[in-house]
């Protein structure tokens, strides 16, 4: 969590429709096999055209839904996004592009806007076509409401066990604005599902160039710093819509409110990212890895991610085993600049290694300190002043069981 200097207020029970001028809704189309009547098709709509920015998967294999959305986001404005769970619309040849465009067009018709103003996201099984007949039959049933953010948050879930939602309000250059968001996680109980989707809405008035930069900066320290299993989806997408309904001057690069808005956006993204990790499949503990004293921010980020994603580190957290040698191993594997004899390691504030050597400690005390839902590692490499934090989850037998089940 970044140090909060802006006055960020949590909106209790808030979500993606907490900002002014956003409505949402969802319906059961039958795309997702889990749970009769479960919502699997959702819409998030802005009353007025919103400035939009997006960050997408860097996997070379991408869903046509990502292709369509990326292109439309580049245009700078959008009115809505339609999202489905149960099918990733990926690795299905040319049909995928036609289906993504049709799904957006159906949503546009339903809410009365032009098709190009609607973005589209899919998550679920790779290699099977979207059942468009079900989409056609059911999309019209979606009823929009300004308190239906939770319905939308539910429609995008696959193997997640719960909705992830957050909303905050803050003052930007004298104008009170709201930022709300929802995300779905990298849980993969049903095989082939690995997609991270995040949707953020704000009623701030934000210029496109700054919104692009702000989203990238927020994603870099939040969604890009979490690791469930090292794999990366073909459909990962984070979108932010800024519809300006709160009024005030447009927030631009270098404008008075830019830093405050950035803080709010980063806060929302970080909170959602941590929720994704906590709800990862089979996960029982959150791992927070803070690397301090690295030569560069890139070094700090690289080392933090390497440690948070090491299977041996994940397994030791599961077993509450203070095997700090595994942290050294992962740190060394990261390839960053450091001197082993200057490394200090702390587990939940207990100083366990000093200058690269074990400190005699009461093992039971450290095991006890690790018996909490959030295990924090601080690794000081004393090579500079750069800092970064990454999050991961423990590796459990349940993860394996869930991911090795037949896809049938």
């Amino acid at each position: 969590m970044p140090i909060v200097t802006a006055m960020i207020e949590l909106i209790k029970g808030g979500g993606v429709t907490s900002p002014k001028g956003f409505t949402a809704g969802a319906t059961h189309a039958g795309i997702k096999t889990a749970g009769e009547g479960t919502a699997d098709l959702g819409l998030l709509v802005s009353d007025v055209p919103a400035t939009v920015a997006g960050v997408f998967t860097s996997n070379k294999v991408v869903s046509p839904s990502v292709v369509v959305t990326r292109q439309r986001v580049a245009g700078g404005q959008a009115r809505a996004v339609v999202a489905n769970s149960g099918c990733a619309n990926c690795c299905v040849g040319g049909q995928g592009l036609r289906d993504a465009e049709e799904m957006a067009a159906l949503a546009a018709g339903h809410i009365g806007v032009v098709a190009e103003e609607v973005l589209v996201c899919s998550t679920g099984m790779i290699g099977v076509e979207l059942p468009m007949a079900l989409v056609r039959q059911n999309l019209g049933n979606i009823q929009l409401g300004d308190e239906s953010g939770t319905d939308f948050a539910g429609a995008i879930l696959t193997t997640d066990t719960r909705q992830k939602e957050i909303a905050v309000s803050l003052e930007v250059s004298g104008t009170k604005i709201r930022i709300g968001g929802t995300a779905k996680g990298a849980g993969m109980i049903h095989p082939n599902m690995a997609t991270m989707l995040a949707f953020v809405a704000t009623d701030a008035r934000v210029e496109k160039l700054f919104l692009d930069r702000a989203l990238h900066e927020a994603v870099d320290v939040s969604f890009n710093m979490i690791d469930i299993d090292g794999d990366q989806s073909t459909n990962d997408t984070a979108l932010v819509f800024a519809n300006g309904k709160a009024g005030g001057d447009a927030i631009t690069v270098g404008s008075a409110g830019a830093d405050v808005f950035q803080e709010g956006l980063t806060y929302v993204c970080t909170a959602l990212a941590k929720e994704l990790v906590k709800d990862a499949e089979g996960a029982q503990r959150l791992i927070e890895v803070e690397v301090v004293g690295a030569q560069t921010v890139d070094d700090a980020r690289c080392a933090a991610r390497e440690i948070a994603s090491s299977l041996l580190v994940k397994a030791m957290v599961h077993g509450r085993d203070p095997n700090w040698g595994r942290l050294m191993m992962a740190l060394g594997k990261s390839g960053i600049e450091f001197d082993e004899s200057r490394v200090d390691i702390f587990i939940n504030d207990i100083h366990i290694a000093h200058e690269g050597i074990a400190i005699p400690y009461l093992k039971d005390a450290v095991i006890s300190a690790m018996s909490v839902p959030e295990v924090r590692f601080r690794v000081s490499v004393d090579a500079g002043a750069a800092v970064a934090t990454a999050w991961g989850c423990d590796l459990t037998e349940e993860y394996v069981t869930l991911n090795s089940a037949y896809s049938t």
Copy 2:
């Protein structure tokens, strides 16, 4: 396995002492806690000074045992290697270097050579000092014999369930030579143990420069193409000793026998590498990933390794689930050059995806085809002519259980 064009003959029951002029032995020193009387200290000795080459971990944190050995290997000749299991002699400050040097000196005294001719390897727990008193008391008990390769192969094991040994004979430029080897695996039942050690002996007469190149080339397609859990030890070491006892002309870069010797060495390293994967902790199935038609060998290697090391791919093999979408995901994540619409995928020779799209198949037939000890994926990317093979193992609940147990 490379295509064998040389006449490589397997020596039945052979191992590291099958080549002429090598003896080995082992003893129980008490360093390794597992099993009373289990050997944990071993010696491999050449009757005469041998040309030596080594490949070492690229982890930035390395055991002082690696530091000592790397330096001595650079000198080009050695008489022996002493190896212990149970303690990695790593992350223990300056004491580690003194202990590595003393262990080598003790071994040198025992066999009557100078200390600088003895290499040293350690594997086991990181962050604890070598119990040198036990080494001093017991090293002298090691009895050398030319049929004791199996004893040495046992002394280096940590969480492995069995010795890995192989020996072959082949004719190089009219001279019959032998290459024998042993390795210990990346099994990590006891936490903190992750080291891969490999020792290869040959009675061929080999010039240092060529031996260096040949070992690197062999390691690149064998030990460097296996993945257990993506982590990398601080102690990984592969050594080859060539003592020339078979006679004949020295094999040099470009000499008549160079290619044949390379084939033999690669054969031995590949066989040992596959044994390591098969005996990985909790592993029930070997995964072989062959990427064909890549633009460059680097691309092919990168993609094959990415697929073989994907947790989702490993889990699907465990569950015998033909989720080819996960192969596409891992291929895309590798970042190599390819066009999704030209990818074909085969699972144990069953054609499952063509031009990036699923082929309708009998799911039960594929599940049945995956119910074997070796699951082979062939991924054709149709972007060039380069080929590479990587090996991995399935991810099982047992792996997690084993690696999350307390280190006590």
